[in-house]
C-alpha cells in the first residue's frame, strides 16, 4: 500500500490512535440511512402484484421504521428526516415517478431495469429477475430488448429470440393508459415447436412484468399490456391469447418465490459480503448455504425478510458473510425458502443459486 517515498509511520503513535478508535463501537444506523435514501430508490422497490400487496408492503416498511426510531443525535441537530412517500402514503399509485433526487436522463446516465427470465422451481417454471444497467435514460423499448439477451445466471433462460420486438410505449398519463408492445415478427404468433405451454405463458408474462417494471422508477406501473403486430392488436402470442390488454399474473403463480439480487453470477468476493434478494417464504425465513465444488456445505446461515404471506416478494439481506476462512476458488451460494410445512402453507421451498468466486 504505502509508496516507497512515504515517511515511515510512527508505529507507537499509530497503535495509540488505532486503539483509541477501536474503543468506539458504533450503533447500527443502516435503517435510518435507508429511510433517507428511500425516495431515490428504484431497484429494490421491485414487484408486488396487486394493490393489496403494495399496501401490505408499505405497512411492513412503516413498522420497520417505527422499530428504529431516530437515535439521539447531538443536540437534536441531526439532519432532517425525509421519509419516503410510500411509507407515509398508503395509496398504491406509482407516486415515485418524479423524485427530485433522480439524475437527469440523457447522455452519461445509466438506468437500471429489472428484467424477468424463466427458471425452474419445484413447482414448475417461474420468473426470476435480474437487474441490467443500461446507458441512457429510461426507455421501454430498451427494457424489452434486455429480454432478448442471455441471462447472467445459466439456470435461467431467455425465451425471446433476438429481434422479437420492434417497439414499446405507453399511451397514457400517470397510471391511466395502456402499455404497448410491437412484435417484429409475425411468426411469434405461434408457439414454436419445443416450447412448452407453461414457458409460452411465462414468456408473455415476462414481457408484462418487465414492461410494467420499466415504466416506473418506483413501484411497477399497473397498466394493461397490449401486444401489436404492426399497427394492429394481435390475437395471440406464442399461442397465448392476447386480444385484450393483459394484466400481470399473481406473484405466487408467476414468480419464483426466492430471488437473489446479490451476489450476481460469478461475483468475486473477498473478506465478507452481504447477500441481498427478495423472497416470500414461511415466516419470512430464508436460509442460505455456500457449497464448495465437491458439493459440501462450508458455510450456512439464515436471514429474515421484511414480510411474507399475501402476494409479492419481500426484501431480505443477510448479515455479513465471512468468507475469509475459505480457500480461494469457486463456490455455490444457494438461497432457499424455509418449508416446515411441506408446501401446505402455499409457499414452496423455491431456491436460487449463484456461482461465486472467493479470492
Amino acid at each position: 500500500m504505502t509508496e516507497p517515498r512515504d515517511e515511515p509511520r510512527d508505529e507507537q503513535l499509530a497503535r495509540l490512535i488505532t486503539d483509541a478508535a477501536d474503543g468506539v463501537e458504533p450503533t447500527d444506523r443502516l435503517a435510518e440511512i435507508r429511510t433517507r435514501t428511500a425516495s431515490t430508490r428504484r431497484r429494490t422497490r421491485w414487484y408486488a402484484a396487486g394493490g393489496a400487496s403494495l399496501l401490505a408492503a408499505a405497512a411492513v416498511v412503516a413498522v420497520a421504521l417505527l422499530g428504529n426510531p431516530a437515535s439521539p443525535g447531538a443536540d437534536g441537530a441531526g439532519p432532517a428526516q425525509d421519509p419516503t412517500p410510500t411509507v407515509t402514503d398508503p395509496t398504491p399509485a406509482p407516486s415515485g415517478s418524479a423524485s427530485p433526487a433522480d439524475p437527469p436522463t440523457g447522455a452519461g446516465t445509466t438506468t437500471s431495469y429489472t428484467v424477468f427470465f424463466v427458471g425452474d422451481t419445484a413447482r414448475g417454471p417461474r420468473l426470476y429477475s435480474e437487474v441490467r444497467d443500461v446507458r441512457g435514460g429510461r426507455d421501454l423499448f430498451t427494457a424489452l430488448q434486455q429480454l432478448e439477451t442471455p441471462p447472467l445466471d445459466p439456470d435461467y433462460r431467455a425465451l425471446w429470440p433476438e429481434g422479437s420486438f420492434a417497439d414499446a410505449g405507453f399511451d397514457g398519463v400517470g397510471t391511466d393508459g395502456q402499455l404497448s408492445v410491437v412484435l417484429a415478427d409475425a411468426s411469434l404468433r405461434e408457439r414454436p415447436a419445443g416450447m412448452s405451454e407453461a414457458d409460452a405463458r411465462l414468456a408473455v408474462e415476462s414481457v408484462i412484468w418487465t414492461l410494467q417494471s420499466a415504466a416506473s422508477e418506483g413501484d411497477p406501473l399497473q397498466a394493461p399490456v397490449q401486444f401489436y403486430l404492426g399497427r394492429n392488436p394481435i390475437d395471440q402470442v406464442l399461442g397465448v391469447p392476447t386480444a385484450e390488454g393483459l394484466a400481470a399474473g399473481l406473484s405466487e403463480d408467476v414468480q419464483a418465490q426466492m430471488n437473489v439480487a446479490f451476489p450476481t453470477e460469478d461475483q468475486v468476493v473477498a473478506g465478507s459480503f452481504i447477500a441481498l434478494g427478495r423472497n416470500n417464504g414461511f415466516e419470512a425465513t430464508m436460509t442460505w448455504t455456500i457449497t464448495d465444488e465437491a458439493g459440501s456445505v462450508v458455510l450456512d446461515g439464515f436471514a429474515t425478510a421484511e414480510g411474507w404471506g399475501e402476494g409479492g416478494l419481500f426484501p431480505w439481506r443477510t448479515e455479513p458473510i465471512d468468507v475469509s476462512g475459505l480457500a480461494p476458488g469457486r463456490y455455490i451460494f444457494t438461497a432457499a425458502n424455509d418449508d416446515p410445512s411441506g408446501g401446505a402453507e402455499g409457499v414452496g421451498p423455491d431456491t436460487d443459486t449463484r456461482s461465486i468466486i472467493v479470492e
Binding site: 504505502t2 495509540l16 490512535i17 474503543g23 440511512i33 430508490r41 439521539p72 447531538a74
Partner: protein, 185 residues
C-alpha cells in the same frame, strides 16, 4: 444446478451494484471504520455517526457517477473528513465524552480497563488539541494507514504539505502523550 466451470463466461471482478446495493455493501464493510475515523476528528461518537450517515446518504445519491466501490470509498472518506471539519466549525461540538463512547473499555472492569479507558481518552483529547490539518493527516495516516498520496487527494493539499503536517502533528502528539508512550500497549 449451477456449474460455472462448464460455462464460458468472462469473470467480472467489479460488481454492477445499484445505489441501494452499493449502500448495503459499503455500509457493511466500512461503517464502523468510518465512524471511528470521524470520532478521532470530532471526539463525540453520536456526532461522528451523524457525519458518516450523511456521507453514506450523499454517496448513495452520487452512486450513478461513482459506479466503483473504490471510488465510492474514497468519496466516503472525503465526505467524512469534510463533514467532521464542518461540524467542528459550525456546531461548536461540546465534548461529551467517555461515558457514551468508550463503552468497549468499560466492559472489562478492573484497573487495566480503567487504564485503557484513560489512555483512549487522553489520545482523543490530544488529537483535539492539534490544529485541524494535522489532526486530519494523522488520523488518515495512522488509523486508515493511507499512503501520503491518497491523503493529499482526500484533503486537497500537496503531498509535501501532508509530510509537514504529519511530522509536526506527530511531534506534538508525542509530547502530549508522553505518559502513554513509555509502556507497551
Amino acid at each position: 444446478m449451477t456449474h460455472a466451470s462448464t460455462r464460458d463466461q468472462t469473470v467480472t471482478d467489479r460488481p454492477s451494484w445499484s445505489a441501494d446495493e452499493a449502500l448495503d455493501e459499503l455500509y457493511a464493510a466500512h461503517w464502523r471504520s468510518l465512524v471511528r475515523l470521524s470520532v478521532l476528528l470530532v471526539r463525540d461518537a453520536g456526532t461522528a455517526e451523524e457525519v458518516v450517515q450523511d456521507a453514506f446518504v450523499a454517496m448513495h445519491g452520487r452512486w450513478s457517477r461513482l459506479r466503483e466501490p473504490d471510488k465510492a470509498l474514497a468519496y466516503l472518506r472525503q465526505s467524512v473528513v469534510n463533514g467532521s471539519r464542518s461540524v467542528l466549525r459550525h456546531r461548536g461540538v461540546v465534548a461529551r465524552h467517555a461515558s457514551s463512547q468508550l463503552q468497549a473499555g468499560s466492559r472489562a472492569g478492573g484497573d487495566e480497563a480503567a487504564e485503557a479507558l484513560a489512555r483512549r481518552d487522553a489520545v482523543l483529547e490530544a488529537l483535539r488539541a492539534l490544529p485541524e490539518r494535522q489532526r486530519e493527516v494523522l488520523t488518515l495516516r495512522y488509523y486508515l494507514d493511507l499512503p501520503e498520496s491518497e491523503i493529499a487527494e482526500a484533503l486537497g493539499i500537496s503531498r509535501g504539505a501532508v509530510k509537514s503536517h504529519a511530522s509536526r502533528g506527530s511531534a506534538t502528539l508525542r509530547d502530549l502523550l508522553a505518559d502513554h508512550l513509555t509502556g507497551d500497549l
